[in-house]
Structure formats: C-alpha cells, structure tokens
C-alpha cells in the first residue's frame, strides 16, 4: 500500500510540477535597485530593439553598467553573440525579470490527492476486508438494516443456487411490497429471479422457514431463561431479534476451532407433546468473506483458470470447492435424548455477513415437565446470533410465489429487467452501484408472512492488491487440505480481525444509505 500511496503522490508531484504561474516585472534602468535579484534571468531590452538575456547578472549603479553571462540577440531574435557582457545602462531601454513559481492552483488538488490516498489506504490496507457478498435487499427509501442477501455462497456459475430469506420486518402497503435490490460490491451479480414467497399466517402468529426448506406455522417465539457461553451470560443478546448480537473472536491458531453455547427454556404445559423448534436468527461474521477473498488472492492472476476448471469439473470438483465451507461449518444444534446424551438435532447454514436470517431447527419431542436444554456448537468468531428462541411448530403450509410486477430503475420502469427477472431462463446482470426497486402485488385476503427467494450467482472482481499474494500451492491446499489451510490463515486473520468490520462497511460501493 505504501507503494500505491507513493505512486499517487509521485503522479501528483509530476502533474503539479508542470503547473506554474509567472510574474513579470519591467523596470526602468534608473530604478535598477528595484530589480528582483532572485530572478535567474535578466532581460535587457535595448533602445535599438536588441535583447540581452543574462544570467549571473549584476547591475551596478556606481559605474552605470550591467554585466552578466548570456546571449545577445538582434530584433529578429537571431543570436548575435554569446558570452560575458558588460553593457552601459544608458543603452538599455527597459529591464525585464520573470519569476516562475509553482501555481497555487495545485494546492486544492494536492489536498484532494492526499485525501483520496488516505481513503484508498483505508480500504486497500486490508483489501480482503472490503465490502462484498451478493445482492443486498432493502426497504426503499429507508435508512436501515439490510433485509436480506441473496445466494451468498454462489461464487461461480456452477454454484448457482436458490436462497430464501425471511422478511419479518417488511410490511405491505395496500397489498404492495417494494424491495430495493442493490449491487454494493465490486462484483457482477447474475440474478435469475428474486421472488416474494408469501405464506398466509392463518390464525398462527408466525410462519417459519425450517432448515429442510419447509414452511410451517408456529407460535410467537419464547426467549430462553438462560444462555451461557465462554464469556458468561449471553441471554440479553439472543432473547429477541433486536439487532443486539452475540459474537465472539476467532481462534488464533485454527479458524475452524469450535465453541459452545448452552441455552435453557422453560416448557409451558400447553406445549407439551407438540413439535418444538429452535428459531435462530443469525448471520456470519467476516471470517468466511476473508477466507473467500484469501482464496482468490492465492489464485491471483490464474483465478480465471481456477474458476474455469470449476465450471468444467464434475460434481466431485464442486464438492471439493465446498470443502472449506464444510470445515468451517454451521451452527449445530444439540439436545438431549431420553438417556440424557447430547444428540445433533440439525444445523443452520445461512451464508453471508450482511442480512440476518431466521431458520428453525426442529427439536426432538421431550418428556413433559422438564426444562429444555439446548447446546449450540459453532465456529469461534464466525457467527453473529441475534435470536435463539423456542417456537411451537404447527402445520406445514404451501406458499404463494409472487413475482415482481414492476421493476424500477432510477424511478423509471425497466421492462427489460422485469422480463429477465420473470423469466426462468434469462437473468438480470448487475454491476457495482446498480439499484433496482422490485414491486410485488400480494393476493388479497390474507395476512402474510413474507420471504424472499432469490436465485443466481455472482462473480467477485479481482482486486489488484490480491495479485501480490498469488500462491497456487496454497490455493490448491484450500481444496485438498481445508482444515490445514484454515490453521495457516489464522495468524493473518487475527491480525486484521479487529478492523475488519469497520473497513468492510466503509468500502461498500454505491450511494450511501
């Protein structure tokens, strides 16, 4: 980065060095004492039109002479002689001095250059911390949290996938829902579709998306009576979805090292014998983003070849690509069986650091009269948990798929984008800074729980800073020995971990919200 800063300053100096202003002064010989002695050149305009251009000049009042080294030119400005000259003052009509100085016009540009370089340092000093990760969805016109992020794990065409995110805070207005889809990273997004999934709540307070993809009606969430992690009491962070998240720091030796959280829920008698589930509202930290970017940095100039190989490869190749994600893992939910042994109930695998999503892990039925104990096993420093609450699950429900009926770009209808998003074979391609407002019209007659289903993939843009770390052996190791790779990356990640969050959000591309 210091090289980039130096280059920018050098370029600025180069341009600045070419911007001068000149001050010219004419002086009568009788006022020769007023001549600018700092002027390197003195021009003596003679009465007959000749000109002396002198350096190392001196004008003597005492003997009324001007002396110096230089050139004598006729009025055509042809050179007559060169050398030392000694000229009587009374033959001089006027003296001329010129002072060329660096122009003050460069001052504001110099300030801007330093400012730009500082901002560049801000992001580029840790380029793998810069904003990225798939399309982001907002409520148009509101400054607020990202509602959802689409298909975060789909970093190549062959990894194209469908993602579903809960939209619990979205409220239809007159049966219409508007979502703003933005590309805020140095990425190309290929969006196959972005449909609203509307589920009639019926008489149930909520509808939940389970980890197997089914949608079930359910009760209002019940907070835990106890939450304990390594740092101590974590109940305040997870007792409701309020943006207050439970986080931890990554392990300094192994980025895949796990930690435990333990939760306890009192069981209401009305829930006895019914299907329970643990609703986990979570998003990832920047650890997986770092690992992805580090992988691209190791691929360096050959990243295109690696991705092409992935596209040509078979299912086994794609599985190897996902290996490091499997080692990093999800949030594993454990409960006790009738013998008191801890058993895995399921895992939440929501990918992406931007939007919090809620998924429900169904829990085995428990004996009546007991408190429910749940353990979460998760990778240290990789998860931000906003909510870990108990829900009573009801019947499975069929959703209504609502495709966008209108797409706006810069306030105007974009029929081409609409056609692409409604087609199942075409796709909308977006570039950094793009923003589309998607308008959905809900069917009448129901209160709906809303989800966003997006499908597509995205391509990270290679950053110049990444190329410096090209190391194809380490890139290969990420696929062949993902656990070892995560251990090798740990020290470097720990070095930048404290600053990752600030740099990441500061490097978001596009208009501020």
């Amino acid at each position: 980065m210091s090289e980039r800063f130096a280059l920018l300053v050098a370029i600025a100096a180069l341009f600045g060095a070419c911007a001068y202003k000149v001050e010219r002064n004419l002086t009568e010989p009788s006022r020769s004492a007023a001549l600018d002695s700092d002027s390197e050149y003195l021009k003596a305009h003679m009465r007959d039109g000749e000109l002396y251009v002198l350096t190392a000049w001196d004008v003597s009042d005492a003997d009324q002479r001007v002396r110096g080294q230089g050139t004598r030119l006729d009025y055509h400005r042809r050179i007559l002689t060169t050398g030392p000259f000694d000229v009587p003052l009374d033959s001089v009509a006027l003296f001329e001095t010129n002072a060329a100085r660096v122009s003050s016009s460069i001052v504001p540009l110099t300030v801007m250059t330093i400012g730009t370089a500082a901002v560049g340092v801000y992001c580029a000093i840790n380029p793998k911390a810069c904003f990225g990760s798939c399309p982001t969805f907002y409520v148009p016109g509101e400054d607020g949290q990202i509602l959802a992020e689409g298909f975060s794990a789909s970093v190549a065409p062959s990894l194209e996938d469908t993602d579903r995110d809960a939209l619990p805070s979205v409220r239809p207005a007159g049966g219409v829902v508007r979502l703003e889809m933005r590309n805020e990273a140095l990425e190309t997004h290929v969006v196959r579709w972005a449909d609203l999934i509307a589920v009639p709540r019926g008489r149930a307070p909520r509808v939940y998306s389970l980890i197997d993809g089914t949608l079930r009606r359910g009760s209002a969430p019940l907070p835990p009576s106890r939450c304990v992690a390594e740092e101590g009491d974590c109940r305040a962070q997870v007792e409701k979805r309020d943006g207050t998240e439970r986080t931890s720091l990554a392990d300094s030796v192994d980025l895949a090292a796990r930690e435990w959280m333990e939760l306890e829920f009192p069981i209401d008698p009305s829930a006895e014998g019914r299907q329970l589930g643990l609703a986990i509202g979570s998003r990832q930290s920047l650890l997986p983003t770092y690992v992805l970017y580090q992988g691209l940095a190791f691929m360096g100039t050959r990243a295109g070849e690696w991705l092409a190989a992935l596209e040509r490869g078979n299912e086994g190749t794609r599985e190897r690509t996902k290996a490091i994600g499997r080692v990093l893992g999800g949030i594993d939910v454990y409960t006790t069986d009738p013998d008191g042994e801890w058993v895995l109930a399921g895992s939440v695998q929501e990918t992406g650091p931007l939007g919090t999503d809620v998924r429900v892990v169904p829990l085995p039925r428990i004996p009546s009269g007991e408190a429910l104990r749940v353990r979460l096993r998760l990778t240290r420093g990789m998860w931000r948990i906003d909510q870990a609450e108990l829900v009573v699950l009801g019947e499975e429900v069929s959703p209504i798929r609502v495709r966008p009926s209108l797409v706006l770009r810069a306030g105007a209808a974009d029929t081409s984008a609409l056609a692409r998003l409604r087609s199942r074979t075409d796709a909308l391609v977006t570039l950094p800074g793009d923003a589309y407002t998607l308008v959905y019209e809900l069917p009448d007659g129901h209160a709906y729980e809303l989800f966003l289903e997006s499908r597509g993939y995205y391509l990270e843009w290679m950053r110049a800073e990444w190329l410096a770390e090209e190391n194809n052996l380490r890139a290969a190791r990420m696929f062949l020995d993902p656990a070892g790779s995560l251990r090798a990356m740990a020290p470097e990640y720990k070095r930048i971990e404290p600053e990752m969050e600030r740099i990441f959000w500061s490097s978001r591309y596009g208009a501020t919200r």
Partner: protein
C-alpha cells in the same frame, strides 16, 4: 455478455465523458497555436512576444487578427501576423486577449481525471469524493488555464496594460524594417 457490454458502454463510459466535459467547460480558451507558446519555465529566457488575438468590428461584421505581440503603444498595437507587421489602431479594438505562456492546465485536467477515477476504489465514499474531485479539479484547472491570459477591453484599461508581454516592451524600435521582421521559428 451483450447485456454486460451495453451496461458498460452506457454507464461506466459516462464517468470520463462527464469529467472531460466538466474540465473542458472550465478551461479558458487560449488563442495561441499549439506548441507556439513557451512553457512557464522557458518564459524568463524567451526572447519573443506573447500571442495576441484582436477582435474588431468592420462594418456590420466582426473580425479577428492574431499573431505575435511586438509592441503596445497608447494608441497602436503592433502585431506580427505571418510575415508582415500590422499596426492596429487602438480605438478599433473591441477585445484583445494575450497569451504569454503555456498554462499547463492540461496537466491539472489529467491530474483531476486520474484522481476522480481513483475514487472508484473508495467504495461508497466515492459518492462524495468523486464530485469533490470534479469540482475542485475544474476550479483549479480553470484558474490555471487563465493564469497566462491577459484581456484588454477599451472600457477597462489602456493598451499599455499589455505592453509587458510584447517583444519590444519599450516600444517599436526606430529603424526596424517591418517588412523583413522574423517571427518565432517553428518549435
């Protein structure tokens, strides 16, 4: 891919075009031919006069003459146009613009362009830094483009205000053969 190409041509190309338009609009026009003027650093040793363009009315139409400024006297301007010396009466001048060195504004424009494009790496902050670059750069470039220019209008001064930029600031020498006077050789 075609969709991508269209997007690039319609949006990314707009940035440098807008920048260039902004910078061009900010610059003052310099009447001198390309490569005729000395650079600012060459001025102290340059023996020639500045370039002058005189705008005057003749009948109902407007005309211009231009060339090297040889001398400016209270009522007459002497200009070397091609191979001949024109003595132009001061009271016929509607406007005259003198350019006496190469401003270097192009360097500031290039600096502004590079700086503006560099903000593309600033993430969302570029929404602030790029317009700031365009504004600051346009003002600086505009100011620099005007630094070698001196304008004369009869209602705002005398012709003596431009004499310092003439080849003969002392006035046209007696005995000068106007028919053979040589101009600046091609650079």
């Amino acid at each position: 891919m075609a969709q991508l190409a269209r997007r690039y041509s319609s949006r990314w190309c707009r940035v440098p075009i807008l920048l260039a338009a902004s910078l061009c609009a900010a610059c003052a026009s310099n009447p001198a031919p390309d490569d005729w003027l000395p650079s600012a650093r060459e001025v102290p040793a340059d023996p020639y006069g500045a370039w002058i363009r005189i705008t005057f009315d003749s009948g109902t139409s407007r005309h211009e003459i231009e060339g090297e400024l040889l001398a400016a006297e209270p009522d007459t301007v002497y200009v070397l146009t091609g191979e001949s010396v024109v003595a132009f009466p001061g009271d016929a001048i509607r406007h005259a613009r003198v350019a006496w060195f190469e401003s270097g504004a192009g360097n500031l424009a290039a600096w502004t362009l590079l700086g503006s494009l560099a903000t593309l790496s600033n993430g969302y902050i570029s929404g602030l830094t790029m317009p700031l670059w365009v504004l600051t750069g346009s003002l600086a470039t505009s100011a620099q483009s005007r630094s070698p220019l001196v304008d004369y209008r009869p209602d705002r001064g005398t012709l003596l205000s431009i004499r310092a930029y003439a080849r003969f600031p002392q006035g046209l020498p007696a005995g000068l053969d106007r028919s053979t006077l040589l101009g600046r050789p091609h650079r």
